[in-house]
Symmetry: none
Subunit: 226 residues, 4 copies
DNA sequence: TTCTAATCGAGACGGTACGTCCGGTCTTACG
DNA sequence: CGTAAGACCGGACGTACCGTCTCGATTAGAA
């Protein structure tokens, strides 16, 4: 019978060659060690994300670049956003420390300044923005982003603020969760809706506005909490 | 010879002989009144966006719903994001007033409370989030969003703050642009990264934190700017 | 046509127990058995071509009718013409034999008469004309038509003529390739530029003109080559 | 609301500028002398056809190149094929004479040789093939081609053959219409299905085969009818 | 050691949307 | 007031990607 049982029987010019020859890249179709494949995928995902951004980030391109199959990716990541986030977090070994020197104003100013630098001087800013953007229509990414990234960052910042409050540096009725949105959230806002730039002047003013209060009159001008 | 003396020498069949009958149910494929078509498209775009969100918002669906052709849409809008924004702005009669009663604290609290309600109680919140998300990878939408929406909102808020400063209610060295990110930007942050909810308590705390300052000690507790 | 080595997938006999769900429930979007899909496509292509002609033959309609996706079609056929030719060749059980009884005149007359009947009494004539027409602006179809159809037909006819020449029935300096154009080529001409009809009188005259020669005078009137 | 009643009322970036200024090519929309426009169209059609072939020949491109509107073209030509034929016939002042020296064999050989040169050495061959191809699915073009081109050519050739028959050079029972298909039709066949080349050897053999007949034996070898 | 049997990668598949192009019809505004 | 310009709808084009699913190759466990 037919040597090629599923071949096009009279196709004039089938575009993909029939013989299915091993095309060089792979040794075969068998199974590779799982971790190795996963590492390749994450590497490829991170590189693609940083190099070309979220618009060019597709599962097919990651699979091709990693020499893996889509099946494998779908087996481990629920959506392209989740994969992108995972790839990003493996690509950037982001260790933006939260200093806790005891001077809450200095600590906040330093941390926000470093954060502003990260957002504007590296590719992380653009990628973060695109990930958050993608998360708006990708529930898997939204969940992953919250679980793996934002919740942890909020917790860290919250603890620093809480300790400052416990030290008596901040008013007792201050909710650290609100403060976080007024400092880092303000930065994310400028990242996502770039009407205004993210500068160190900006981050310094964020802290200054909050700690001193906006109002004019007596009490204005106090600067240090020490 | 021919009734059209300068007629086509090669016309095999006179035009009148060709049946060219309206071949079906359509009233015609020709041109419709110009503005009418664009109004239909915007109407359909807005409805689709509010009903099913950005994920379901495709140019093909808008065209189908509007009874228009994709060609027409591409002629007038550079990207699906730009169309979505345009449709959104025609759908919602956005009347979020910026009150200016003279009491800046009361005004800010009121406006931010209304804004929080808009974001959480109507579909506008989700749509806005998806538009901003989409804008991260759609330069056309980003430009349009800034030109048509965010820049205007910032200007309105900035003027209110500036007037308060001129009245002496705010310190003279306060940059209204920073304050905006610490108030409305904080709300957008919670909208886009929903770790924490957007409540009226939250918006009230935003104002309170800023006007009173975070620090404990003398001067804390001043509330009214009047 | 039977000995096509990999015939099962495209043969007229369908797999009777194919569980294909009636369209609409789509049991799944994944892969269907490879050859089955191509068989469906060829079947649909042939039917559409014979029913409505080349003008209505579009890849989208074939895909729709076959329950296949355009991607699949583009994967296997380089142009719509190539697909049309393939579909045609699977639809018509082309059994236009080339008899070789030893009497070249009788054989040619019989074959050309049958050919004329095929061209005028069946839809094959119109379809062939449209395929050749399409091939004028579709290099893929032109190549496929030559490789799969015309070259083979020419070879068959050439062999018959060659054998007749070897038997001494035809002059030794006759080029069979030229004769083919003067017999079948003349028919194709009338098919493609229908100034005159293709009748059995016409095909008989084709043979008669050639074998007897056009000239009047001595020698005219010889009829049999035996 | 909008000052531009049919404009996109809030389109972010309408692609075509609003003022719709005359963009250079035309002086206005008013009427130009009819014949002038027609001449421009024919000129553009012929140039486009010869330069880029039937595949690139569209009514829109002709309209653009001629500085005319589609309406004008549709007013005078029933289909793009008819326009193409008309443009072609105005572009090539094809005057392939039919000599009638009295020696029918010499005349035919000369005419077919010149015809072969036309088909192979100029662009006319390719264009003719594409026109005939297009005519297979364009009834308007088919009718026009027959009326304006092929019928006339057949008539000319037929008259030459008829006179030769009346002079007694051809057998009295020869049908000139059949002979035409066996000479020129054979050439068209090779033009449209290019399995074999169109050479002067080929055209010479066409005549030779017919006038001498194919059969071997007595009488073979007579060559001249004079 | 050979022969299954399980398992995983490769990629074909249906579906959807993309952005472009063209045919043929119709409204509008120029001249 | 007629006519040319071109906006309009429909629909096909060929491509990309998604998420599902079949198939074949590889390899491990059973014989």
């Amino acid at each position: 019978m037919a040597p090629t049982p599923d071949g096009p029987t009279a196709s004039a010019a089938p575009r993909s060659a029939r013989p299915r020859a091993p095309q060089g890249t792979h040794r075969g179709r068998g199974r590779r060690p799982a971790g190795e494949v996963r590492a390749d995928i994450l590497r490829a995902a991170g590189a693609l994300l940083l190099d070309e951004g979220m618009a060019a980030f597709t599962i097919e391109r990651v699979a091709r670049a990693a020499g893996a199959s889509k099946t494998t990716i779908y087996k481990w990541w629920p959506s392209k956003g989740a994969l992108a986030l995972d790839g990003y977090m493996h690509a950037v070994e982001e260790t933006l420390a939260f200093p806790d020197s005891g001077d809450i104003v200095a600590d906040l100013t330093a941390q926000l300044g470093a954060f502003a630098t990260l957002l504007t001087r590296t590719r992380a800013g653009r990628v973060l923005a695109e990930l958050i953007g993608q998360a708006q229509t990708d529930p898997d990414l939204a969940a992953a982003y919250q679980a793996l990234y934002s919740a942890g960052r909020r917790r860290l910042a919250g603890e620093v603020l809480l300790r400052a409050r416990q030290r008596g540096q901040l008013r007792a009725d201050v909710d650290p969760r609100v403060v976080i949105d007024q400092l880092w959230g303000a930065c994310y806002h400028r990242l996502l809706v770039p009407d205004e730039p993210i500068t160190e002047e900006f981050t310094a003013a964020l802290v200054d506005n909050l700690v001193r209060g906006l109002l004019s009159g007596p009490g204005a001008g106090r600067r240090s909490a020490r």
